[in-house]
Amino acid sequence: MRFLTGRLAMASLVALAAGLGAAQAAQDDITVAMQLEPPHLDPTSAAAQAIDSVVYINIFEGLTRFMDDGSIVPALAKSWDISDDGLTYTFNLNQGVTFHDGTTFDAEDVKFSLDRARAEDSTNAQKALFAAIADVTVVDPMTVRLTLSEPNGNMLFNLAWGDAVIVAPESIDDIKTNPVGTGPYKFANWVQGDKIELMANDSYWGSAPAIKSATFKFISDPTAAFGAVMAEDVDVFTGYPAPENVPQFEADPRFQVLNVATEGETILSTNNKMPPLDNVKVRKAIAHAIDRQAIIDGAMFGMGTPIGTHFAPHHPDYVDLTGNSGYDPELSKKLLAEAGFPDGFTTTLKLPPPSYARRGGEIIAAQLRAVGIKTETSNLEWAQWLEQVFRGKDYGLTIVSHTEPFDIGIYARPDYYFQYDNPAFQELYAELNKTTDAAKRSEMLAELQTMISLDYVNGYLFQLATPTIAKAGVQGLWKNAPTAAVDLPAMSWAN
């Protein structure tokens, strides 16, 4: 027994010494923490952002990809030609690309991936991205042609999503637990409930990344998150869950804080079919009763940009329409009286778990009460929220951050949970999809943004920003998040 304990103690010491040795060499490993654990690792069959955070760009690549400023650049596709009528996209693929299992990447894999995503029984959470594709043809091993049923100005953008990454038929069966992609990192290990480890792919077709091994840790409790960062157990925490601690990190020279602008339009979603919210005057009254800055300061500790429509302020086509719904409680009361509710009314406010919703909800309830609108507030789990609010449409008001990039199209779906049914919007949106001319698109987007702003479909609150807390030496972190991603190949340690 003594022998055994001795051996174990020895082994522990050796392990400890090895750890110390590694710390003294130039650092090429990183530990990135985030709040939620991915349910599995297939970005093409679930909406969980945590999946993209781990695999996007790192393990899987698409034909195109997002950069942190929102631009779309080539990835597996080296270049492309678009026919004059906008109906044919010919992609030239990069040569010498292999999947992590050694199989070759070619046009057949592209066809397989896109056909799988748009198939009848596809479980792709963003299937609508591929709706315009009529056919995928393999021209030769390094060339693939997409034929569209109608022109689509968003095609290159759509193909950059995590839901559009290229997967291989050889490894598709195990993709959820053993993802095999073409990216600069290979999946190494997953201790469920705890961490996922990736290591650099030595035979990567592009330039080799500076970080050789990466660990993703999942820490859901805000107090635990604070402890892990302060104790320097983690190097980076993306989507840090407790904005109230941010000033403390800002004051500490060991850390850097990035306020990352996300694609999350945080809105007071309104059931446009439920009386009295079906009356545009009532919705306008609600919009004018809300003091956005008070919500940003009170619920988000100052993080977030006010919005007046469902569009990201950092997008070049954004129009600032916050003036349509300025804070004016007197006007709000007047509108309520005109709509036939001089004494206000009562509706429900159903709040999902994130703190923007729970904290923001309390502030909004107080602001609405000030103009006479009483809310019956209830807190729901996500699963309940999806069932009651999203699917059952049994709600008056709710607060949600819509985190998908460029998602104004949900207003063209009358069966969507807002139940906004405006044929003019639907026609214009269909027109936009067919338009490829940039100037014309800009104009149409402005009109769409204005339309929903003046219909007061929802209460437009703010663009969600989430803090990234990192050790001071970490370089290459994303300052904006056009999609959920932890871009490991862009990262390195300052010496």
Binding site: L8, A9, A11, S12, A15, L16, E37, P39, H40, S45, A46, A47, A48, E120, D121, S122, T123, N124, A125, Q126, K127, A128, K176, T177, V191, Q192, G193, D194, K195, K217, F218, I219, S220, D221, T223, A224, G227, A228, M230, A231, D233, E381, W382, A383, Q384, L386, E387, Q388, F390, R391, V400, H402, E404, D407, I410, D415, Y417
Partner: protein, 315 residues
């Protein structure tokens, strides 16, 4: 004896069948659908339907229940809806964290409680006793997650002796792994040891006033000798009962501590599975806990009968 054992075994099976039905119905009644949870708020309704079909959620409830129970009878707990890995494997992995943590906490709690309880009983009414009782009062009153946060603040953030949480796995070495469970185990153990110390003290004091203790003293043993030779052994019976109860509490009750220290244990698995509506995981974990309780009862029944022959004829 054999007939008695068979009867008990039959009642065990009936209990399990009823428990499985109740668990299944109660959990399935909860609103929420794993497929919509996974696909989020941009998915088309037909995509959700396709995923439901893929997960086998579109078959009638009764059929799913029978498949689940049938699988369990063969030792197959099914496949998690969200993780898509076998539930049995997931539970086994988590047990490697939760079980050692519970045992570690139990050992710590006993190591603290026994000396404290004996010391207090031996010095009844004196300052030492009052100090111990005051400390245990505090230990019972303060919740374990508060202890947990204080431990992290002192030992992880300020002194940097431990990590703030996480579990590196047993393959990095027994002592390093054990070290990472130390703060959570202390946080779990402190309130438990306070309760245990109080039980130990009062149980000892009860024994000290018994006739046989007086006889022992009359035979010429000192107070201390009597306490160690005759008192302690008899006082242990209620203490062991409490330890038994505490163990099941520590195993299932580590949920909050596992959250605070982000440990990949059983509690965190249940927590995650409930919010993702990974019903088959929740059902299987609950069923496993029920099974262990029923099994222990069954074994206790058999043990009683072995000790007390009257029980065999009565049933």
């Amino acid at each position: 004896m054999l007939r008695y054992a068979l009867k008990r075994a039959l009642s065990l099976l009936i209990s399990l069948a009823i428990a499985s039905l109740v668990i299944f119905l109660v959990i399935e009644v909860a609103p929420g659908d794993p497929a919509s949870y996974m696909l989020g708020i941009n998915a088309q309704p037909e995509t959700v339907a396709a995923l439901r079909a893929e997960l086998g959620l579109d078959v009638p409830k009764m059929q799913r229940y029978l498949a689940w129970v049938g699988g369990m009878a063969r030792g197959d707990f099914g496949t998690s809806y969200t993780y898509r890995t076998p539930v049995g494997q997931m539970i086994a992995d988590r047990m490697w964290v939760s079980l050692p943590l519970a045992l570690y906490a139990l050992a710590l709690s006993t190591l603290i409680a026994f000396p404290a309880g004996i010391y207090a009983a031996a010095r009844r009414g004196k300052p030492g006793d009052i100090a111990v009782m005051g400390a245990t009062q505090l230990g019972v009153a303060v919740p374990n997650f508060w202890f947990a946060m204080m431990l992290v603040l002192i030992f992880a953030i300020n002194l940097r002796w431990f990590s703030a949480g996480g579990f590196p796995g047993w393959d990095i070495g027994f002592f390093l792994a054990l070290k990472s469970l130390t703060l959570p185990a202390i946080a779990l153990a402190l309130p438990q040891s306070a309760i245990l110390a109080r039980v130990m003290r009062s149980s000892l004091l009860d024994i000290l006033s018994e006739d046989f203790m007086r006889t022992a003293r009359a035979k010429g043993l000192s107070r201390r000798q009597a306490l160690w030779r005759h008192g302690l052994r008899n006082a242990l019976i209620p203490v062991l009962t409490i330890i038994g109860l505490q163990f099941s509490f520590l195993l299932a009750g580590g949920i909050i501590i596992e959250q605070v220290f982000f440990l990949p244990g059983l509690g965190r698995l249940i927590f995650q599975s409930i919010s993702a509506r990974d019903l088959i995981v929740v059902e299987s974990v609950v069923m496993l806990l029920v099974f262990s309780v029923i099994l222990v009862n069954f074994l206790v029944d058999l043990a009683y009968a072995a000790v007390d022959p009257r029980l065999r004829s009565r049933t």
